[in-house]
């Protein structure tokens, strides 16, 4: 997903463990902090393996341009971008590109189904997600952050969204693909669910899978997403704990 793959494919499994020593269904270390920015209406910072993602939410606020305003509901907007220093390879370009524009679109659409936009006609709600450091699975890390940021902005939501990337590497079903598994594996499938109904609100897939493998992937993702949800809820709970005011550290 990120950067250009090195020419040599590394060994993805050794003694039944993955490259970084994880079990097949084990997530990378995940840290979520809510309310890290003062200016934003809601915010969250996520470290997921080597990914570092910050998210800020503004709104509901005046819709610009005005002719985009919907008289029945708020307009959801999302801008996902990658920093020029996010990858180990050469210096990238800042700002949106084709890849980030697609990701922004699917993230926005995922939240359009849970945020109660009907409460705020003629306004817009902005989700800004910036990937500061990338190590595979950034859109799912963005989802982990955006859900918490929207909730910390006090926006009414029908449900929380949590997701994880699942896929196939060296013939094995793996949960939460790392960068090498993403680059050299056979399939990558970022997927996000509504927490209570387990309905899918974001799903993308590349690679080659049988219907059986696909079904097993979705089941594994539901379990993985559950672990993410627990940390999202915990982050929100902590942000309202006045006795524990923490300073922002990366």
């Amino acid at each position: 997903m990120v950067g250009s793959p090195a020419p040599d494919k590394p060994v993805l499994f050794q003694d039944g463990k993955r490259l970084d020593g994880r079990a097949l269904d084990e997530l990378r270390p995940l840290k979520i902090v809510a309310g890290v920015l003062k200016e934003a209406d809601g915010s969250a910072y996520v470290e997921w393996g080597g990914n570092k993602v910050i998210c800020g939410v503004y709104g509901p606020r005046e819709c610009i341009p005005k002719h985009d305003a919907n008289p029945y509901k708020a307009l959801m907007k999302c801008r996902y971008t990658m920093s020029p220093f996010a990858s180990l390879e050469e210096h990238g370009r800042s700002g949106p590109n084709r890849r980030s524009t697609e990701i922004s679109k699917v993230i926005k659409e995922a939240y359009d189904s849970v945020v109660m936009t009907g409460e705020y006609p003629k306004t817009q709600i902005d989700i800004y997600v910036d990937v500061l450091q990338a190590e595979g699975g950034t859109r799912i890390a963005a989802i982990a952050a955006a859900t918490v940021a929207l909730a910390s902005a006090g926006l009414p939501m029908k449900d929380m969204i949590s997701g994880v990337a699942v896929g196939k590497a060296d013939g094995q079903l793996v949960v939460d693909l790392g960068k090498a598994e993403d680059n050299f594996g056979e399939s990558d499938m970022p997927i996000a669910f509504k927490h209570r109904s387990k309905e899918i609100v974001l799903m993308q897939m590349d690679g080659k899978l049988t219907p059986e493998e696909l079904s097993a992937n979705i089941d594994a993702a539901i379990e993985g997403a559950e672990k993410v949800y627990a940390l999202q809820a915990e982050a929100l709970r902590k942000s309202y704990d006045v006795t524990e005011k923490q300073e922002f550290r990366m």
Partner: protein, 265 residues
């Protein structure tokens, strides 16, 4: 819910906060009870990114700026064929403030990047002559400033982040005229750390390290960049004016405060 555009909100706040600030200053007080030449809490964290050759997160009060330093290869400028290049860029992320909009760089973000750039360039802390690879190819250093939260005084926060990130930077190994990613020859030689001190002017008062609220009320702003003992860049911005005596007093303050900030890196 009253819907007010961000521009209108800024205009109203400007009026209200200017009056409030002037009233408070008349009683000898700043909005957050700080002395006129005092900094808010300053926090610098180096080495926060593993993908960049150097990085730092600087926080002054509520302002947060992340700096990433990346090396690249480039064709040198025609007039300096044996010298490496470096450039400073600033990104005002829309998540940092309700007034920052997505889109092309604003004049403010370009000004900030250029002031920080001038400080580093005039201080001659980066030895561009050592960045020659081969004919037609030199090393380039990209210094990216990511503004993440706008709590006022972004210039000093950004200069601090840049200096800290440069002092954290490792120079990559070059083999067969190509950078080997993840392999380093050693730390970047950085003889000094250029930093800035920014003051705002309100009436006859000049205040160091302005809050966002104080900036809104300001007539103009003065930034003084220093290394130990020298002034390396200056910038006056905003519509008001400054007397020579006002400038000289703040230069002395900047030289002293600059050294205090350097000790925090």
């Amino acid at each position: 819910m009253i819907l007010m555009g961000e521009e209108m909100r800024e205009m109203v706040l400007q009026e209200v906060q200017r009056e409030m600030l002037i009233n408070m200053l008349a009683q000898g007080k700043r909005m957050d009870e700080r002395e006129k030449y005092g900094y808010r809490k300053v926090n610098v964290q180096k080495g926060v990114l593993t993908t960049a050759e150097g990085s730092a997160l600087a926080q002054i009060g509520d302002s947060k700026v992340l700096c990433g330093v990346k090396f690249g290869e480039m064709t040198p400028f025609a007039d300096r064929p044996t010298e490496g290049v470096f450039m400073v860029m600033a990104e005002f992320l829309p998540l940092a403030s309700p007034v920052f909009e997505p889109g092309p760089p604003s004049p403010e973000s370009i000004e900030l990047a250029r002031v920080v750039d001038r400080g580093i360039r005039s201080a001659e802390v980066i030895d561009t002559k050592s960045m020659f690879i081969t004919e037609g190819k030199v090393l380039a250093i990209f210094i990216d400033l990511y503004v993440m939260d706008h709590g006022g005084n972004l210039t000093d926060t950004a200069a601090l982040a840049a200096a800290a990130a440069l002092s954290d930077t490792k120079v990559p190994k070059v083999v067969d005229n190509k950078i080997v990613r993840g392999d380093y020859v050693g730390p970047l030689n950085l003889p000094d750390k250029p930093l800035t001190c920014t003051f705002i002017k309100v009436g006859d008062h000049l205040l160091l390290d302005p809050l966002r609220e104080e900036e809104r009320a300001a007539e103009c702003q003065l930034t003084v960049g220093t290394v130990d003992g020298y002034v390396v860049c200056m910038q006056k911005s905003g519509t008001g004016s400054l007397k020579k005596s006002e400038v000289m007093e703040r230069v002395d303050v900047a030289l002293k405060k600059g050294n205090e900030l350097r000790d925090l890196i």
